[in-house]
Symmetry: C2
Subunit: 675 residues, 2 copies
């Protein structure tokens, strides 16, 4: 034990000064080497090191393989200081932020028709009027949101607006509604994208759930890589879609004016499969509610205000107006032509209405494929916006302690890893549960959106009234109409779609709110309990622990544990709990030569239990000096292969679990590695 | 840190001398109190304590509840010295050890008929001849086993006999076959017991799998309590069954001789459901293989030789002869009467042949219920013998390092807990997988039994030949005939039942053997690697560890960890890994007042990783002095409710997993409990 009395040379914690002994003979000099350590750390401010990329990437063994796979999938880590926001021109912003909204035109008409056709083909005549009503609502919402954008130029998420104006609880309702909304945006958009593909490649229809789940995985992976929303590449799908669908509408209008619209005949059986009842007011409201899905995505532009070029709010609201105008045109055009030609939705959902319309006008040719491809791409892009929105909102909530802290943590590529994975997982669940059917998902979708709209607009009303700035009456009126309209629509959706699925959302929003509040309460209680003030006293009275080493048999792992225990405390006690009286003798004989001056206590356990007697023994030791902690030194064998753990370590694991909950107890694990 | 320099009073590891300070004023005397500590420990030999029952039972919190539940279910712990074997009279031994064998008569006839009837009712005439052949085989096996019992009076398990005579590998084949056999004994006997019950209470038939699984659970629980096989209670079912079934047979024979056998008419549809092909030799062999199940359980008596009163071997073999004679009588009687009356097996397996026979002879009355009840009880008792045999064989295998060591460990009630639970689990799996159907299980059952027979008898042949003791020629001839017969039957069973399920056993036996060998190799390699000899040197050079404390924020848990680290090493280093440059300043400011002289190193992590930089930092520290271990002191928060772990500790857990595989690294967990 000479070395214990002769303490080893001091370790330099800042790695700058390395003392090295040259040669082995006595009398050799110490040489001081001053340098930053290898390439793992750079020198920071005083007392500070800065880790390099190698600390993250250069590990040995199977971690290298994992790391290589990870780099292949999501790329090399990005340092924090490279975080920056690229500002967007209106042209780019329109393409990126409006993709969610504009893409709704790919299925909004169809969803109206799917409800109306339940009352027979004649009822389809209501498609265009309902579309008009929805476009009017859209105009009201867009006008109303123009004001919100101006009032919250740093980001007008309904969560922020409602929290700011209506209080924390209203903010949480909005947050819950938005989290649901974003998740459903992914599920619905991806389902619609798959429908666009299966419309032209019907062979893929039986695999639609699989394809949808795979698409979500690709999106999640892309976002874990930290795909920048601003890439010019992302402009393409939106404009391509707008251009080709405007082409379809233009062609249709031309043939309509020329009295040359093609004849359309629904395949036999489609109508019998669908017409099931009379045309009631309730049915019309349901159709309206389905079509109201067209308004989803309006939120995206107001979320993204800070990303616009200056003056941000002005550019953002111009973009919002444009987006609404483009969307309205496409929506009206598609509804008008589908009604005029007399298209009937496919009850099996294999072919979309947009695909049928294009096919009727252009035939089965390259243009049809172009339209469907553009639709699928745009819908995927729309889903992608949720992969920015959901994690961002989660990180706000986590920073406000409403969600687990890991949601606020940026991963190696600066993306909010937990949020992205959570969104992907939830969306996949929905896709599997609802068979990747847009029609099945729609009833869940719209309600959350309109709840968030209403809270956001309602918040604006309160804000106008409180501030009474110049022009507040006009602003209050606009937002008031907006809030009333969206609130009314929310009620219609909630009642007409209640049985079809809206009830889930009605349960889910308060449940989410309760969960978020519970998490916040937990963190708050904890912070209070862990608070720091009277700690210095505790530190001063710290005393060396009572050290015990449970020894099962005299082998190398035990020797290692004993060596550690002695190096930490000269009073360490070895404890051998046994039910084998024969083995005691040989242990007692070997011990002195084995562990020198260390004390060995043998605890006979006639009931063959190990943990109970050990805990009781610890109790007895500690009662001699209750304020000292007890340090239990466990030797644990690290097998070469994980499955070998089945043959070992169960006792150590059980013991650790028990000790974890024991007060004033510290467990030190001394692993023994086979070399 | 005054207390560190002024070491605390020494703790007495043997708890005999307690030093207590009376009062708090300086000058007070120390008082030595000598006594065994409370009622947790008694004084043993020198340097030894003996744990009392209270160390096992007296724990706080939810452990008390668990303990109460456990005591309710399996009883209070039993100390090791109470282990003893009660010797059995022949009358008791016959009842207990032959239950497995005799109980086969409840289904053996039926299983022969179930195969024969596939060729139509006419083929059922072969039932009696096949029964005769099987009884002859039984006579051969019993005669052969009489010799084995004499040769191995300490227990003639096929594993022991084959290991001793044919080598370790043959022993393992026998062991594998027996493990399968015991498991199937439970599954088949319990299925048959349930069938005996559903024969009189058909309402229970739809729940047969559930009832069977529940029965296995009851047996497992009884055996965990350490039910003594020797209880007089266990005699009842065997003799009750023998008496009532002999009664049925006697009545049948009397009516047969009086020409007064009742007329029997199979319900309409039974025959059409079953007759599916011609009567081929293969079918006859299949029927024979099914009936060969009658021989299962012969092993049980030879396993239990040491439990007989002296002279053990002589009493055991007399008992074996009696058991075979009784079984043969019952089997022949049932087969004869069932053929004579012309009973046809129920294709739905709702009613057993024995039940139909009794019903035909005695009508639906109390005697029928008595027979069925006795049958069910006996079959449950037969299953119970496997709950003694399987864990005992497992413990032999575990002692020889062929199975995980926990199989050799006796639980609180002296039962082999792991073996009992493993058997119950496997039997339940089989019951669920095969719908608790005897007929479905039979093809898996018989092969293992005959493989074990063959190895055991073959081993005896080798033994006779090697030893050439007096009378060896006769002995060799008897065992040779036994081995040849059982080997031949094994071949017939393997080929005729191959497709029906025997293939599983043919795969399973070598797979089990490979597994047992792999486990043994693992333990052998390990023992070699952990061997002890050059350890004392290592102990002498043990040096104090480099101590680091990762500190995430300045709170109570961190303070506790720091206090522990300092008490263990004055050089301990605190490390704060962060990606938040703003927080660094406030930490740096608070630190000196907070942790006194302790050094704080701040590691900036621009890639936001925690574990990588920390590991790299540890590498760098250790490279300054590679032989010193590093002790990582982790503060961990212990939440009040387990689910709160979802909001905490993920990082600590991941870090611990990584550190567990790092060489020369010790992890100390300092838990912080909310008070």
């Amino acid at each position: 034990m000479a070395d214990e009395r002769n303490p080893p040379p001091k370790i330099d914690p800042l790695l700058e000064v390395r003392e090295r002994r040259r040669g082995q003979r006595p009398g050799d000099q110490y040489v001081r080497v001053v340098r930053p350590f290898d390439d793992m750390f750079e020198r920071g401010d005083e007392g500070e090191l800065v880790a390099t990329l190698r600390t993250v990437t250069a590990r040995t063994g199977w971690h290298t393989t994992l790391r290589a796979l990870r780099t292949l999938l999501i790329g090399r880590p990005i340092p924090s200081h490279r975080e920056h926001e690229e500002r967007l021109t209106k042209l780019k912003a329109l393409a990126i932020f409006s993709s969610d909204n504009i893409s709704s035109s790919a299925y909004a008409t169809e969803e109206i028709m799917r409800i109306l056709v339940l009352a027979g083909v004649g009822a389809l005549a209501l498609t265009l009027p309902l579309t008009l009503v929805i476009v009017v609502v859209l105009a009201i919402v867009a006008t109303s949101y123009r004001q919100t954008i101006r009032a919250y130029p740093d980001g007008a998420s309904a969560y922020l607006v409602a929290s700011d104006t209506l209080g924390a609880r209203a903010g949480l309702v909005a947050a819950g509604a938005l989290l649901i909304d974003y998740t459903l945006t992914v599920a619905v958009s991806i389902s619609a994208a798959v429908a666009a593909i299966t419309s032209i490649v019907p062979e893929l229809f039986p695999e639609r759930v699989l394809i949808a789940v795979a698409l979500v995985a690709v999106l999640a992976l892309g976002n874990l890589r930290g795909v920048r929303e601003s890439g010019t590449l992302f402009m393409a799908p939106t404009y391509l879609y707008v251009v080709v669908v405007l082409g379809v509408i233009g062609l249709g209008l031309a043939r309509y004016l020329g009295g040359d619209l093609p004849a359309y005949e629904a395949p036999p059986g489609w109508l019998e499969a669908e017409a099931t009842g009379p045309l009631t007011l309730f049915l019309i409201l349901r159709a309206f509610s389905s079509g109201a899905v067209a308004l989803t995505g309006t939120e995206a532009i107001s979320d993204g205000v800070p990303a616009f070029k200056a003056p941000e709010w002005r550019n953002a609201r111009t973009t919002l107006t444009w987006a609404a105008a483009i969307f309205g045109t496409l929506f009206l055009g598609i509804s008008f032509l589908a009604s005029s030609i007399g298209i009937v939705p496919d009850p099996s959902e294999q072919q979309t209405v947009l695909s049928q319309l294009t096919r009727a006008l252009t035939g089965e040719g390259p243009y049809l494929y172009l339209v469907q491809l553009a639709t699928a791409l745009l819908l995927a892009l729309a889903a992608n916006t949720s992969f920015a929105d959901f994690p961002r909102l989660s990180s706000f909530l986590a920073r406000d302690s409403y969600m687990p802290r890991q949601f606020a943590f940026r991963g190696e590529r600066l993306a909010f890893t937990t949020g992205i994975l959570a969104l992907a997982g939830l969306a996949m669940l929905l896709l599997v549960a609802f068979g990747a059917s847009v029609t099945a998902l729609i009833p869940l979708y719209t309600l959350g959106v309109f709840v968030a709209f209403t809270l956001s607009q309602g918040g604006m009303v309160v804000r106008w009234y409180r501030r009474r700035e110049q022009g507040w009456r006009r602003g209050l009126a606009i937002n008031g109409i907006g809030a009333a309209t969206t609130g009314f629509v929310a009620l219609i959706v909630a009642s007409s779609k209640f049985a079809a699925g809206a009830w889930m959302v009605i349960i889910l929003i308060p449940a989410l709110m309760a969960l978020l509040l519970a998490i916040r309460r937990h963190y708050a209680r904890l912070d209070a309990a862990l608070e720091l003030i009277p700690i210095t006293g505790a530190l001063r009275t710290a005393r060396g622990p009572i050290v015990i080493v449970p020894v099962a048999r005299l082998d190398r792992p035990a020797a290692q544990a004993i060596a550690f225990a002695r190096s930490v405390s000269p009073e360490a006690i070895a404890v051998h709990v046994t039910n084998d009286a024969d083995a005691v003798e040989s242990m007692r004989r070997q011990w002195p030569e084995w562990a020198g001056g260390m004390e060995l206590v043998i605890v006979e356990s006639p009931y063959r239990a190990l943990i109970g007697p050990l805990l009781a023994y610890m109790d007895a030791l500690q009662r001699q000096d209750p304020s000292r902690p007890v340090l239990v030194v466990l030797s644990e064998f690290v097998p070469r292969h994980w499955w070998e753990n089945l043959l070992h370590n169960q006792t150590a694991l059980r013991l650790k679990l028990r000790l974890f909950t024991r007060r004033n107890t510290i467990v030190a694990d001394v692993p023994y590695h086979l070399s």
